[in-house]
């Protein structure tokens, strides 16, 4: 019972922050400065989500593995390859490195 109470509570407090901004009055106009600020949020968030998390993404003790995968992804993306190929390449290189150690 306690676990279900916990799950219900966690579900609620996770959904509320996701939901609230969506039910704002539809015709609410944000001031220009706020719009401009929000416009850059995805790019700023992307940077913060990548770094430094990528370092510990494969192995908490060996940050070079995360770096290796990250660099591989970067190179493949620079070459203009498709998202899924970038993904497969990074996984393959990391798997190869893991099998070597």
């Amino acid at each position: 019972m306690k676990i279900y109470l916990l799950i219900a509570g966690m579900a609620l407090v996770t959904y509320i922050p996701r939901l609230l901004p969506m039910v704002l009055p539809e015709r609410l106009q944000f001031p220009v400065w706020l719009d401009r600020w929000l416009q850059y949020v995805p790019y700023a968030a992307l940077g913060a989500l990548i770094f430094p998390g990528v370092l510990t993404s494969v192995d908490g003790q060996r940050s070079w593995l995360g770096l290796l995968g990250g660099f591989t992804a970067g190179l493949l993306a620079l070459a203009g390859l498709n998202l899924l190929i970038v993904l497969a390449g990074a996984i393959a290189v990391v798997a190869f490195a893991l099998s070597m150690i």
Binding site: L5, I7, P17, R18, M22, E26, Y40, A44, G66, V94
Partner: protein, 244 residues
């Protein structure tokens, strides 16, 4: 006309599914890890799956298990979850301006907001990844496609993890840990190539997050949202004219 509209939505939904496939692959290993951990914490299969199905927030779920094991009370865990998820207010605010659709539809779609679905849908365009013209537009159907496949990955991975705890090859699981980051980087590189200011803002976001985590010892949820708000505010202040 109605048929044409419906077709357009199907196309957008499929595009979302395709774009979201990268998140699906990224969520699988994390969700499997959650399933394994949940089952070993002593929760039933159903309870572990229910948590992934209803809470659907990776970091919160891991933290919840952790706190549960260390003997924290239910209200404590719920409060900690709330704090960790406040960052979604910011993401949902951005999405509420960009997703087209009525409030009911947007409320349902908002369940699918995660760090990953947020950056994927806001940075890749409706006409494909990195398309310049359509970059600001997020059709409800495309968001739904991304959300559905991401959610499936999380759920399938969790169930798989609880059931097949022992048979998973370590190297495959560990190497798949890079996939979410590979996706992030694959989104980052084209936008950096396109615009110097975007590159600066992303780099600033990463640098600030690192400083906040390592120097100020902020918890991950707080440091990500603080770094994001600071870096995007710098962007808005430095580049007044406000085009992408």
């Amino acid at each position: 006309m109605a048929l044409w509209v419906a077709q357009k939505e199907v196309v957008q939904f499929r595009l979302g599914l395709m774009q979201g496939l990268s998140i699906f692959l990224g969520y699988l290993p994390a969700a499997v890890a959650f399933g394994v951990l949940g089952a070993s914490t002593g929760l039933s299969y159903f309870q572990v799956a229910a948590m992934s199905a209803w809470v659907y927030a990776g970091a919160s779920q891991f933290m919840g298990l952790n706190l549960l094991q260390s003997g924290a009370s239910v209200p404590e865990i719920i409060l900690a979850t709330f704090v960790l998820n406040l960052r979604h207010v910011l993401m949902s605010t951005v999405l509420s301006k960009r997703i087209q659709g009525n409030r009911v539809l947007k409320s349902i779609l908002s369940f699918g907001i995660t760090d990953e679905t947020f950056v994927l849908t806001t940075i890749s365009g409706s006409a494909g990844t990195g398309s310049e013209a359509a970059v600001r537009e997020i059709t409800a159907a495309r968001f739904a496609g991304v959300a559905v496949i991401a959610y499936s990955g999380w759920l399938i991975g969790t169930v798989f993890g609880t059931v097949f705890v022992d048979i998973l090859p370590q190297i495959a699981m560990k190497s798949m840990g890079i996939s979410i980051y590979a996706m992030f980087i694959a989104l980052l590189v084209p936008s950096m190539k396109k615009s110097g200011r975007v590159a600066m803002i992303s780099l600033l976001g990463g640098a600030l997050n690192w400083i906040l985590l390592s120097e100020l010892k902020l918890a991950t949820g707080w440091s990500v949202v603080s770094a994001t708000m600071l870096a995007s505010a710098c962007g808005a202040l430095c580049y007044k004219e406000g085009k992408q």
